[in-house]
Amino acid sequence: MPNLNDILIMLPELYLVVAACLLLLLDAFMALKERPWLHWISIAVLLVAIYLVIVGQPAQSVTAFGGMFVRDGVSEILKVFALLTTAIVFVYARPYLIDRKLVTGEFYTLMIFAVIGIMLLVSAGSLITVYLGLELLSLSSYALVALNRDAKLPSEAAIKYFVLGALASGMLLYGMSMVYGASGMGGTPTLDLAQLHHVSSYTTAPKLLLFGLIFMIVGIGFKLGAAPFHMWIPDVYQGAPTPVTTFIASGSKLAAFGMAYRLLDAGMGDLSHQWQLMLAVLAVLSLAIGNLVAIVQTNLKRLLAYSTISHMGYLLLGLSAASPEGYAAAMFYAICYALMSVAAFGVILALARSGFECEEISDLKGLNQKSPWMAFLMLLAMFSLAGVPPLFGFWAKVLVLESAIHANMLWLAIVGVVFAIIGLYYYLHVIKVVYFDKPAEGSVLAAKPDISLRVVLSLNALALLALGLYWGPLLSWCRSAFGL
């Protein structure tokens, strides 16, 4: 039976559920001229949730609801950064949404519901929680992508996302049912990830278990956007309203890492020798496709989409090491990627105006002459994404490569380095356009006068530099979560 202790462990999630429902009511009953307050209330809601997560941090891993919900160091860190990046997305989104008349309570509520999905996903202790958290996140994301109904591209992107997402969920469920069945052969069937950990030692159907594992990896690959399950990423990134793209590229990726960690390590850790190579193949494919196809992109959002695919390759590099060190490096990478992509999309959001999405690379021509500070922030974001020292992205790359070498996968690390150099080209191309091209006739390219956006965006991009110089505490926080 659930008791008060279970509820206290889940306090941040329950608080967010209540807050999201209250926001819905507020949106319905608020006077029209007070609606803008919803924006600040939503940000406050997220900040309070971060506070609740940090304050309630348990000394060691605790579970609630009979092991279905796990609260440990990994989930705490991922939750803090998922909430933080979502709050940043809210700040960046406001001028964009106002320009396009999309400022509705639904945007904020759906985002918060998606964050609740992320929080459930990263602390899932059972297959059923993984699936439900994933669906909560995905359904909210589909709706958010389609939010701008008057344009054509978002609807197309939403349909593609929905159909492929449903297919991936089906694959994941199919794999889970196989794993469940395998756990019932020679023992009691279980959905609990901690119990599934030992299934491979007793099951009479080891091939069935492996079969289920492969389907689950397909689901994980889709959620991460790793090649060859990456088809949805470019279209969704391009079609979705830019704030939603930012969210999918940041919070969602933290969730995908959390899901992969829970399913693969907590659930299928005994089979790590089986899935290590599968992840390595996914990593190499993602690195190749992401970096090579990004070179020919002319649309900045599509370029960032392919860059996501390549970054997921690096993340998989860390995961495929299948050691606490590798997981810590991968989590560090996920956090780093979330902060970098939020900054990159933040610059796009700051420059977009109504009727001008600022999503072509050529739109950025001569940004340095028009708005030097924005150009500098873009430079920081791009250099960090490319992994140029001393920025944050460099250390994240170094760590995953190191973990791959320690896991005796030197070839994988070499592939990673080669593609990092290839990837440098298209990031530098953006910087070249920003700094060395002449502005086009009549281009405005002025940053939004929104103070909160400018301040947070500057802090965000400068944090990439600061964390690049002083990354020790964050890394040791990540490592401590895995008992290192």
Partner: protein
């Protein structure tokens, strides 16, 4: 007749109908027929669940999906003006490739899991029967105790569905003529009819000045 044999025959019978109906959902030309065969799929699936002693789930499937969702779906499909030929385009063209992929996957799956794994497996005792309560009662107890968290999260997902549906469909479009019942009720007679006092005799109107031609 041996009851176990009868059950086995029923299982394969319903299983066969389910697969055939599911296949016809995606192969039938007429959309309405496809929806109807989806109903048949659900129905035979419910029968399969009935065989597995999951009476409540079977009934819920029929009442909720067949009774409510599919009927609604049927209405929507009937109302939509779908160009059948256009949807079918490419179906025949890609059929061979699809068939090859499907057969290859089936063979691979059977090869991997092995036909050996298909022999009867004795699963654990039915927890409902062990507890001495009906299937429905056991399900209800499990949902509100052991599976409380997933159950509530499922409710949350439904809430998201409602919010998303409203956010995506309720929008004010300009240039669409529609009645606003609210305004109709609140209307004030004074706004609609203006009583004007006029002189009985029309005053002499000033002759309108012809507009000046703009000098070029």
């Amino acid at each position: 007749m041996n009851p176990q044999l009868f059950q086995l025959i029923c299982f394969y019978g319903f299983g066969f109908i389910t697969v055939v109906a599911a296949l016809s959902v995606i192969t039938l030309k007429n959309t309405v027929h496809a929806v109807l065969s989806l109903v048949l799929t659900f129905f035979s699936m419910a029968c399969l669940w009935m065989l597995a002693d999951a009476e409540f789930l079977a009934l819920a499937l029929i009442v909720v999906y067949v009774g409510a969702v599919m009927v609604l779906f049927l209405f929507v499909v009937m109302m939509l003006d779908i160009d059948q030929e256009k949807i079918r385009e490419g179906f025949v063209k890609f059929l061979p490739i699809g068939l090859i992929v499907a057969v290859a996957m089936l063979v691979e799956m059977l090869g991997l899991i092995g036909v050996k794994a298909m022999h009867a497996q004795v699963m654990g005792p039915d927890p409902a029967a062990a507890a001495g309560v009906s299937n429905t009662a056991w399900l209800g107890q499990a949902l509100y105790t052991k599976y409380l968290l997933p159950f509530e999260v499922a409710a949350l997902i439904l809430t998201v569905g409602v919010v998303a549906a409203v956010a995506l469909t309720l929008r004010q479009r300009v240039g669409v003529r529609h009645e606003s019942a609210n305004e109709q009720v609140r209307v004030n007679p004074r706004d609609r009819i203006r009583i004007v006092k006029m002189d009985a005799v029309r005053p002499a109107q000033p002759t309108p000045v012809p507009p000046q031609e703009p000098s070029s």
